[in-house]
């Protein structure tokens, strides 16, 4: 038992120590560009704007964190990018994935694009898998809808990915979803999202349903695999703690608008918008000894 603790501890520390090796590369190609996105809720002939004038872009290998409290419109924004808007919501504006205009796609093209080009990890890991099928079989089906592989090749690739997300591959492959813990299921969901090799990963509150330690490990994993695969990540959260040390850029959303956007480190130290300051203050943090006094001096 002590051994696993030591390992957890080391893993966490390694991630703390590890600086993101690649410097923010302004030359990297744009993966996603969103321009003037508006989303309206249409109910009984009345329409209400949920998201207004949202514009941002993500470059290859970059992580953009979209931060805001519930109801700020961050999840619908993600849903619009993935083409998963529920009925009754209508989006307008332009979105490009590489050079394809997402706003021009029809349902069939969406279907081919989703999963292959855009991977998803949801908050609700319970809903990601059918409870009646073994994990391996579900992943196998998923992979073979996107690529024509033999069963053997596909299995090898899945086992490889399960290893990458830090799970015992053979055992996980043969398990039913209910036999895994929340954190493990979320790892499988991450593997499922990354197996087809998407160029954009949308992580919609992947840590909210997990406890703090498991959540941190999950985020480390996402950051690590992002560095490995070079995909762009849109990370949606309400918890700024997961954003530091991981996301290069940060967009703060409130009541359907982006109120502040910029480099994470700059916003952390010099938040411009009052709401951002409020969010920062709300973040529960464990102050290191000495840090409090240091802050007091600064203020």
């Amino acid at each position: 038992m002590l051994v696993t603790e030591e390992r957890q501890f080391r893993m966490l520390h390694a991630s703390v120590e590890r600086k993101r090796s690649k410097a923010l590369d302004d030359e990297a190609p744009l993966v996603l560009r969103v321009n003037q996105l508006q989303i309206a809720l249409i109910q009984q002939k009345q329409s209400r704007l949920l998201v207004q004038d949202v514009s941002f872009s993500i470059r290859q290998g970059e992580m953009l964190a979209l931060v805001g409290e519930s109801g700020s419109g961050k999840s619908v924004t993600a849903a619009a990018i993935g083409g998963l808007l529920p009925k009754g919501l209508q989006s307008s504006g332009q979105m490009w994935l590489h050079h394809r205009g997402l706003h021009e796609l029809d349902q069939g093209e969406w279907k081919r694009l989703r999963g292959k080009q855009i991977g998803w990890v949801f908050q609700n890991y319970q809903g990601s898998f059918t409870p009646f099928m073994r994990i391996g079989k579900q992943l196998l089906e998923l992979l073979r809808t996107h690529e024509s592989l033999t069963k053997k090749e596909a299995k090898a690739r899945i086992l490889d990915w399960l290893r990458k997300v830090g799970l015992p591959p053979e055992r996980t492959y043969a398990s039913y979803p209910c036999q895994l813990s929340g954190g493990q299921r979320q790892r499988v969901a991450l593997a499922a999202a990354l197996i087809p090799g998407p160029s954009l990963l949308i992580a919609d509150e992947p840590t909210t349903a997990l406890d703090v330690v498991t959540g941190e490990q999950m985020m480390d994993l996402i950051a690590g695999l992002q560095a490995e695969t070079g995909c762009a990540v849109l990370f949606i959260t309400h918890d700024l703690r997961h954003v530091w040390r991981r996301a290069e850029r940060l967009a703060v959303m409130r009541m359907g608008r982006i109120v502040e956007t910029g480099k994470t480190s700059e916003i952390r130290h010099r938040p411009a918008h009052p709401y951002t300051r409020e969010l920062l203050a709300a973040c529960p943090r464990l102050w290191e000894p000495g840090e409090l006094e240091e802050r007091a001096v600064h203020v």
Partner: protein, 274 residues
């Protein structure tokens, strides 16, 4: 709360027949049992608004008197069944353990028998008659009520609001009264409304077969049977009782379906997650 039109129409229709059930015997223009062979198979007239049947009895009077038997008894039996089934369900769900297992085995056994067959069997044993049929229906129907209540109790009792209620000092009885009964109320209301309709159909069907109400008692199902030989010459004999059955069952189903759609408070919040 605004009552939707659908339920409102059903309730008005049902209420109309329910009032008839209590006042029908007084309001009837003629004696429903009076046989007058000289007046048989009369067309509608001022004295007999819907005409007379094969024994010269006033059809309207018989229908009005029959409302009492069909509708009144069906309603009464369902209410009685609910009064039996609901406490059993609470007992079973709340106590759990051996009482629960025992009660549910009984319910399984009784539930395996279709009520129609039980009614026929009871009629065979105890002889045909309205009360025997009602007894048979009661024997089978209570199970559904006990089951629904038990199900509600079992899903709700582990929820935090029940735990919080225990922690804040509520006794078992208080929890049932304050929380669980409220949770069970809407599925029960839906079931009661639907069951009244189904019981009316069942009662009429059994009477039509001669197992329920015995002649000369006026009952809609029995009236249908009476009119069968004269169907071609005098369709009114079957038309009016049939129409009444149709309308009452329709009313019950409208109320039941309407309740299903509106009573569920939680279904309102089902919308778009933002």
């Amino acid at each position: 709360m605004k009552i939707p039109l659908f339920i409102f129409m059903g309730m008005v229709l049902y209420g109309f027949f329910l009032i008839l059930a209590f006042t029908g015997s007084w309001l009837a223009p003629n004696d429903p049992l009076l046989i007058q062979m000289s007046e048989r198979l009369q067309p509608p007239s001022f004295t007999y608004p819907l005409g007379t049947d094969h024994l010269g009895r006033c059809i309207l009077s018989r229908i009005m008197a029959g409302t009492h038997t069909t509708l009144g008894l069906s309603t009464a039996v369902i209410v009685a069944v609910a009064v039996i089934g609901v406490p059993i369900g609470f007992l079973s769900g709340y106590k759990g353990g051996r009482i629960d297992a025992w009660l549910m085995r009984v319910a399984d056994g009784a539930g395996a028998l279709p009520e129609f067959l039980v009614a026929v069997a009871v009629a065979g044993f105890l002889g045909p008659g309205l009360w025997n049929v009602l007894l048979a229906i009661a024997c089978v129907k209570w199970i559904a009520y006990a089951r629904i209540v038990r199900g509600v109790v079992q899903t709700e009792r582990e929820k935090e609001y029940v735990l919080a209620s225990i922690v804040s000092g509520s006794s078992g009885w208080t929890i049932i009264r304050r929380h669980l009964l409220r949770q069970a109320a809407s599925p029960l209301a839906i079931l009661v409304a639907g069951d009244i309709g189904r019981t009316i159909l069942l009662l009429s069907a059994l009477s039509y077969l001669g197992l329920g109400a015995q002649p000369p008692a006026p009952e809609w199902g029995a009236m249908l049977n009476d009119g069968r030989p004269y169907f071609q010459a005098a369709p009114a004999l079957m038309l009016y009782p049939g129409l009444c059955i149709l309308l009452v069952v329709l009313a019950c189903n409208m109320v039941s379906d309407g309740l299903r759609d509106t009573l569920d408070v939680r279904s309102k919040q089902r919308g778009i997650e933002i």
